[in-house]
């Protein structure tokens, strides 16, 4: 048992996630080879479809590392999309102004939630539950209609195909298909890398790990726990709004029913990626792989073609259980040592 001490729990959980992703993906390439699962585009679609989710999961990882949770993000995303639609289509705002406004809303949202959680010491679950209801309600108040976003600048950014002039294949309709991504993918990946650096190499980031690991000792070490927590939620609100904009670039519409359960997808992604719900442990790249595992399962189901798409949920449930059990085993082992 002594040997376990030398193994970094963190890295081990992350390694399992990454290995699992590649095993699943390669299995998919073998099973669905004839249907074209091995095409680079299928891989890129994992990012194209989930750009918003990746950013939200990154932000969720940070919140979970500090020992909190934020279940308001799904509603905030819906509200962001609705505000974008309303401002651009009904109020004739420009695309950039609307996006800045949405980011501002995200910061306000995060500040209020962060203040209540850190300075008034209220359970993050309850506060963000309130935030979840508020966001969804406000979305419906702005409009219960679907708003289709046709703003030229916004469409141009969202739909700018960045083609990779390699691995082109001729499809049977006689079109040359090159793999492509949208700008949203690049934005998501940049944020992922920035957040990785922030969490790993800045004072702020290391404080987050310290507080999540043990709040008491972090306080004794002289860290400003309340302030750090507050800023984590502010940053979380800001990132959630970026996620909302990226989500909107994919759906190009504002609608009250949008992004329902998005927060749970983000939490699932983070947990599968090795983030502990108890705090102190987590890695944004793990969450990326968590989201990609989910995306791969979705692709499996849709390539298979006859299965009910609810199998995605069932599979995710099994994976979550698997990872939670694994985590608790590790913690037991750690405690023994």
């Amino acid at each position: 048992m002594k040997k376990f001490k030398d193994i970094d729990t963190n890295k081990f959980l992350l390694a399992i996630t990454i290995v699992m992703f590649f095993v699943m993906y390669i299995a998919g390439m073998i099973i669905f080879n004839k249907q074209g699962f091995a095409k680079p585009q299928v891989f890129l679609n994992l990012f194209v479809n989930n750009a918003g989710l990746i950013v939200i999961a990154t932000s969720m990882t940070m919140v979970m590392i500090i020992g909190g949770i934020d279940i308001s993000v799904g509603s905030l995303v819906a509200m962001d999309c609705m505000i974008l639609g309303d401002l651009m289509m009904n109020k004739n705002w420009g695309a950039w102004a609307s996006m800045l406004f949405v980011l501002f809303i995200g910061i306000i949202y995060g500040s209020v939630q962060g203040f209540l959680i850190s300075y008034l010491n209220i359970q993050p679950f309850i506060i963000t539950l309130a935030g979840m209801f508020f966001g969804r309600g406000m979305t419906a108040v702005i409009s219960t209609q679907m708003i289709s976003i046709t703003n030229e600048t916004f469409s141009a950014i969202a739909q700018k195909k960045i083609t990779i002039p390699l691995f082109g294949t001729m499809n049977k309709h006689g079109k040359m298909m090159y793999p492509f991504i949208y700008p949203s993918v690049i934005i998501a990946l940049v944020i992922l890398v920035v957040m990785f650096v922030v969490l790993k190499y800045t004072k702020f980031g290391r404080s987050i790990y310290a507080i999540g690991g043990n709040e008491q000792s972090a306080m004794l070490m002289g860290l400003n726990v309340k302030k750090t927590k507050f800023f984590v939620y502010v940053l979380d609100g800001f990132l959630a709004s970026i996620g909302g904009i990226l989500f909107c670039m994919n759906t190009m519409a504002g609608f009250v029913e949008q992004a329902k359960g998005f927060e749970m997808d983000a939490i699932a992604g983070a947990v599968i990626g090795g983030t502990l719900l108890t705090g102190g442990v987590g890695n944004v790249f793990g969450s990326l792989f968590g989201c990609m595992i989910r995306g791969t399962i979705e692709s499996f189901i849709s390539f298979q073609g006859t299965l009910s798409s609810w199998w995605v949920r069932i599979t995710i449930a099994l994976l979550l259980t698997f990872f939670i059990v694994l985590q608790s085993i590790f913690q037991k082992v750690k405690a023994k040592n």
Binding site: I7, G36, Q41, M146, S148, I297
Partner: protein, 401 residues
């Protein structure tokens, strides 16, 4: 020490790899064929038979007996892929399974595009989420399907995925709900219900019925509307408003019942409290009609067609099985259909496209009207006669949903 730790790490990682390998094959897609082992194998067998490859049929048969789930799914996938040449691959992105109507629509499409008919239908249930449907479209494009059928969750936000389909040269047929795109050439054709015509037919029926019965007193009519903003509500209400004005019907009240039985009942109860001379109720779907019926009976009034003697007449839409059952026993006088059976017309569309013909860009699916009363046999709307189907138990039993 470090090397030992590394060795243990590697071992556990490999063990985990094996475990997860099994995990993924048992929990991910391969489980499907495992669960529905028999159908998958029989499907493979039948398509093989169509291609008259007796040898592979035998192989498929013997493999069906094997219990290896992973091998099973692989072979099933291969069998389908082998026939790529003669089988048309159709991607069908469906809204979900939120109502009987939707399920009837799904079943109709599934049975029309069956393997026996020479199709490989790739079905995707979006669980009422547009983002899932966008993913499904992208997956269809990656699979290089021949045609995509889209029953959109929302009307908005389709420019990007439809543009991707257009770039891949894959025709998209939109059914049921419209898509709101900047360029309507992004989809090949749309087919759906003409809700306004449904409303007009219902109103024309009421007019003809009252004339035939020689009823000339005031028609005090209530409109229990659908969910405001839904295209079914917009079309049916518009037809109602026009007909009420044209025929001089007295509109007692016009409120939304949100397409639900509970809300329909609540609305009808409050209307009956305020006025006791209501004699016709125009419900914009079957569920609202059930609610209205209950409210009328609870208020001590009679549901029926003899409105000269205090009965209250109910009209309804959708013609679901439950709705038609009520139509058969006479509590709903006339039920105008909203046809979910898109399968046959879609196969025609696909065959036409395959033959290189062009389709009508926007068209309506044929819909009928049902009544158990034979007073009115056809209605005339804008110069066209539409027959009214006399509802009997046999007609009801023969319907697919």
């Amino acid at each position: 020490m470090k090397r030992k730790a590394l060795a243990i790490f590697m071992c556990t990682a490999m063990a985990a790899g094996i475990m997860t390998g099994c995990g993924s094959s048992s929990s991910a897609p391969s489980e499907a064929p495992a669960a529905s082992e028999a159908p998958a194998a029989s499907e493979a067998a039948s398509t093989e038979a169509a291609a008259s490859e007796a040898a592979s049929t035998e192989a498929a048969g013997s493999e069906a007996a094997s219990t290896e789930a992973a091998a099973e799914s692989e072979s099933a996938a291969d069998e389908v892929a082998k026939n790529d040449g003669d089988v048309l691959n159709i991607g069908f992105a469906q809204v979900g399974a939120e109502s009987d109507w939707r399920t009837a629509c799904t079943d109709s499409v599934k049975s029309a595009f069956s393997a026996e008919n020479g199709y490989n239908l790739i079905f995707n249930d979006a669980q009422q989420k547009q983002e899932n449907q966008i993913k499904a479209i992208r997956d269809f494009i990656s699979q290089d399907v021949d045609y995509i059928i889209l029953d959109p969750v929302t009307e908005t936000g389709w420019d990007q995925p439809l543009q991707e389909a257009a770039d891949a040269g894959i025709p998209v047929i939109v059914v049921d709900r419209m898509v709101d795109v900047s360029d309507s050439s992004l989809y090949t054709a749309w087919i759906g219900s003409d809700f306004e015509l449904e409303g007009k037919k219902a109103c024309a029926y009421l007019k003809a019925y009252l004339e035939a019965k020689g009823y000339t007193d005031a028609v005090n009519i209530v409109d229990i509307q659908g969910t405001i903003g839904a295209s079914a509500q917009i079309g049916r209400t518009a037809a109602f408003d026009a007909a009420a004005e044209e025929n001089g019907w007295n509109v007692v009240s016009q409120q939304t019942g949100e397409f639900t039985q509970a809300k329909g009942q609540e609305v009808m109860e409050s209307i009956l409290k305020q006025s006791d001379d209501v004699n016709v109720v125009y419900c914009e779907n079957d569920n609202e009609a059930f609610g209205a019926r209950d409210a009328i009976e609870a208020a001590g009034k009679k549901v029926g067609t003899d409105i000269a003697n205090g009965d209250i007449l109910i009209m309804s839409f959708d013609a679901t099985n439950a709705g038609l059952t009520d139509t058969l026993d006479g509590s709903i006088l006339v039920n105008t259909e909203c046809n979910p059976l898109y399968g046959p017309v879609l196969t025609q569309y696909v065959q036409k496209l395959k033959a290189g013909e062009t389709l009508d860009h926007d068209s309506y699916i044929a819909e009928s009207q049902f009544s158990a009363d034979d007073t009115v046999t056809s209605v005339n709307v804008d110069g066209t006669d539409y027959p009214v189907t006399l509802l009997t138990q046999d007609v009801l039993d023969a319907r697919a949903y």
